[in-house]
Amino acid sequence: MLTNREQIKAEIWLKIIMLAFSPSKQDDIFTWLSCYIRSIPKFWEIEFSPARNPLNATIENQFINISYDYKIDSLSKSVINVFVHRSSEKYILWSHDIDKSYYSLPSNSILSMLKSTSRNKEEIINEEIESVLDGLIFHPTVHQHIIDDNIFSAGASISNHEIRIGGCIDNPFLYLFQLRYQFCLLGSNRIEEKNRLIGLFSRVLKKKSTIQISAGELFGFSLSK
């Protein structure tokens, strides 16, 4: 049986995915991906030309020889390919496929079956949000490290061990979001981003809002009121 606090965190987990990583209409997907791409140069502090078509773009960080592309048909069907570059050659490191036509645990349904505990908004505390965001983005519970010294050589400010690619993420937008975070080599930007997201979700969740967070707000283009 879930404890009260475990249940709160589980609800936070699902709400964050629903509010920030579940654009469904084509326009919303386009906007989400546009903001995603545009946020990367500032977050990674690199020179980067925004893609003309956000629906089918390649994100490239030539300074760490990594790039990735994606094809998102829907929340249930998508693929994200991650590459490493060696001179003019490009090798695929892995391909993250999401295909929900196969069975997966229906987390939402299970949670709603549980008896909802009556709580007021003060009961959600930032530590819980931080803990959930850690599991979703910053330090995914199940993750892989890239063991290749040619990619992040000895001089890099962040070691291979600090780059944690989330493993069993079945939401393509969340997967892209955590790639954005994990491929950021700037320690201070990682900390700022973490604090920003904790603050953002804290405000939204405490308001018990069910309106999706705008992509601009999610990627830090606008100030939350």
Binding site: E47, F63, S88
Partner: protein
């Protein structure tokens, strides 16, 4: 400027300005120069030139020193605008605008003078109104014409306007309780060959009466022909590879590890020039995925960077480049040779060569820009460039020894040098004649297809020089020449010019305007710009006339280069050389009672030079 804190900061050509930028990206260099600069900032009341080649970090050096010393200018003039607004491109207007704004901010009472209404035919009522017009952001043709008219009117009365500005500054100083400190930024963007540079001269002279910091190019530092030649100078040389390396690493931030393999090569190719280093880095990162090996990428990077900087640049002379490559030294005198368009000034201004450090006397350590080295290393070597330039330039261009006649304008002359050699038993070669020879070679090179205005103060001296140049020009078998005086007569100036061009099929047209032009002629001539495009021309104008014409020649002035005759003469010869020539001339007079017309002319030049030195 928003910079990345720890990531990539390529932003080539944008100087560092504030504390955050210095903390993130600044690397200590030019330490001695900074000490000298701070000492000037704290103690001096005279002007100072801070100069270096394009991309050496002049603006950043200046900003950093301001920041370190906490001493900032009271007035800053930006002369590097390339604006659609006619006011922002006019040096005099820039000066007036900043001084008046400062005066108004300091609540200085300007009612002691209000010549604007009269000067501008009622278009401007007072100083406040002038500032309002300055600040108009209306780009309509009407506003453009109003501004153009005001600019011309002020320019035509430049001396008077500057006189008023002097008084205004004096009142500002009184109010502030200290001598004013001015910063003339952006002089470095003006090539000496650019006519606009001419407009800076009177403004430079005006500012040189105050504690003014001039930001200039290296060619201005070494130039001994312009208004600021005697000022204190600080030269910022190209840097060593270690400093460039540190700068590139800072620009790469946390990603610097990714260029470990290539950074030494990039530094070597940069030649110590920061802007070039940054461009190399940018091109490398852009192209790194296009090539199989690091070597092939490096070659492509060098090629692309050299295309970026030199694809449309005019190449300096092969001889100079080969000489530099061999000797690695250049003398300051070489840099300011008269009419030096093809040689040293171009090579420095356009970064074909880089100046490193002072060697001894007037010699400086230099080297070819590594990106263009390969273009110059295949032909025969030249052993002594100065000798070649000074003594053999004309001969190497197949100039025969003897002059010819042309038209009925001039008498046949034996070239001066030859005559002098014959007259003196020890074959003394007059320094003055050599300089005239060089000016001739520079102005009449067959490589030139452009138009020159020779501005002069002394008509007599000009005639001697012109005679000499013409005699020299006619020694080119293939270079025909036509000279005529454009006079005020029943035939319009326009028709005189067109007729001269139509009737004489020659290589070079020379027109003298010693009797001046009226306002209508000035306007008509300006509209003939396109007619002159395909002709090589030399126009001879009194300097005072030129001052009056140029503000009105908005079209024509883009077509011409200006050559101030007396300045070039004075800059090329020193007092000892003149004394030597005078002594030789006296000996010659003692030996031969019949001094030729040519020799008599030379004597005039010598005496004039002596009087000016």
């Amino acid at each position: 400027m928003i910079r990345n804190k720890d990531g990539i900061n390529f932003d080539e050509g944008i100087p560092l300005v504030d504390l955050t930028e210095f903390e993130t990206l600044y690397v200590q260099c030019h330490e001695k120069q900074q000490i000298e600069f701070i000492s000037w900032l704290t103690d001096s009341t005279s002007p100072l030139l801070v100069g270096g080649q394009i991309g050496t970090g002049k603006s950043t050096f200046i900003n950093k020193t301001f920041s370190d010393s906490s001493i900032y200018p009271d007035l800053t003039f930006h002369f590097d605008q390339d604006s659609i607004d006619i006011f922002e491109n006019n040096p005099l207007i820039i000066i007036v605008k900043e001084i008046i704004i400062k005066a108004l901010n300091e609540n200085i009472d300007l009612s002691f003078t209000n010549p604007l209404y009269e000067l501008t035919d009622g278009q401007v009522s007072d100083w406040q109104n002038l500032i309002e017009i300055f600040q108009l952001n209306d780009f309509s043709l009407n506003v453009y014409n109003i501004k153009k008219n005001i600019a011309q009117k002020l320019q035509l009365n430049e001396d008077f306007v500057l006189g008023i500005m002097r008084e205004v500054i004096s009142r500002i100083e009184g109010k502030m309780g200290h001598k004013i400190f001015c910063f003339a930024s952006g002089f470095d963007k003006y090539s000496k060959a650019n006519v606009e540079f001419y407009f800076l001269n009177s403004v430079s002279l005006f500012l040189s009466k105050y504690k003014t910091l001039f930001e200039v190019n290296a060619v201005h530092i070494f130039d001994n022909t312009w208004a600021l030649k005697s000022c204190q100078k600080i030269f910022l040389s190209s840097l060593n590879n270690d400093i460039v390396k540190e700068i590139l690493k800072k620009r790469m931030g946390v990603y610097s590890f990714s260029i470990d393999e290539i950074i030494n090569n990039l530094c070597a190719l940069s030649g110590g020039n920061l802007r070039q280093a940054l461009r190399l880095l940018t091109n490398y990162t852009m192209m790194k995925y296009n090539y199989e090996t690091l070597e092939s990428c490096l070659i492509a990077t060098a090629k692309k960077t050299s295309q970026d900087f030199f694809a449309f640049a005019s190449r300096p002379s092969e001889e100079l480049m080969k000489y530099i490559f061999k000797e690695k030294i250049i003398s300051a005198t070489t840099i300011s040779l008269p009419g030096d368009k093809e040689t040293a000034q171009r090579s420095i201004y356009q970064n074909w060569i880089f100046i490193y450090e002072h060697f001894e006397g007037d010699k400086w350590k230099v080297d070819l820009n590594p990106l263009v080295q390969h273009l110059f290393l295949n032909s025969n070597e030249i052993t002594n460039y100065e000798t070649v330039l000074l003594n053999s330039y004309a001969q190497s261009n197949q100039i025969s020894s003897y002059g010819l006649t042309f038209g009925n304008q001039l008498q046949s002359k034996t070239p001066l040098v030859e005559e002098l050699k014959k007259s003196l038993s020890d074959s003394y070669v007059f320094n003055t004649a050599e300089i005239l020879h060089m000016i001739s070679a520079a102005l009449l090179s067959t490589d030139r297809t452009d138009r020159i205005i020779i501005a002069y103060r002394d008509k007599e001296i000009t005639e001697v020089v012109r005679d000499y140049i013409f005699a020299k020009a006619n020694s080119f078998e293939y270079q025909s020449f036509f000279h005529t005086e454009i006079v005020m007569s029943d035939i319009s100036v326009q028709n005189q010019l067109l007729e001269a061009i139509k009737k004489n099929d020659v290589n070079i047209y020379s027109f003298s305007f010693s009797s001046g032009l009226n306002d209508n002629d000035i306007e008509v001539v300006d509209k003939m710009r396109d007619v002159f495009l395909s002709y090589q021309m030399i126009w001879w104008l009194q300097i005072d006339d030129l001052k009056y014409y140029l503000p009105k020649w908005t079209q024509l002035r883009q077509l011409f280069e200006i050559f101030i005759l007396e300045d070039e003469l004075l800059a090329s010869i020193n007092k000892n050389e003149i004394e030597e020539d005078l002594k030789a001339y006296s000996e010659l007079k003692l030996k031969s009672k019949n001094i030729s017309i040519t020799m008599g002319s030379l004597a005039k030049v010598l005496l004039w030079l002596k009087g000016k030195e």
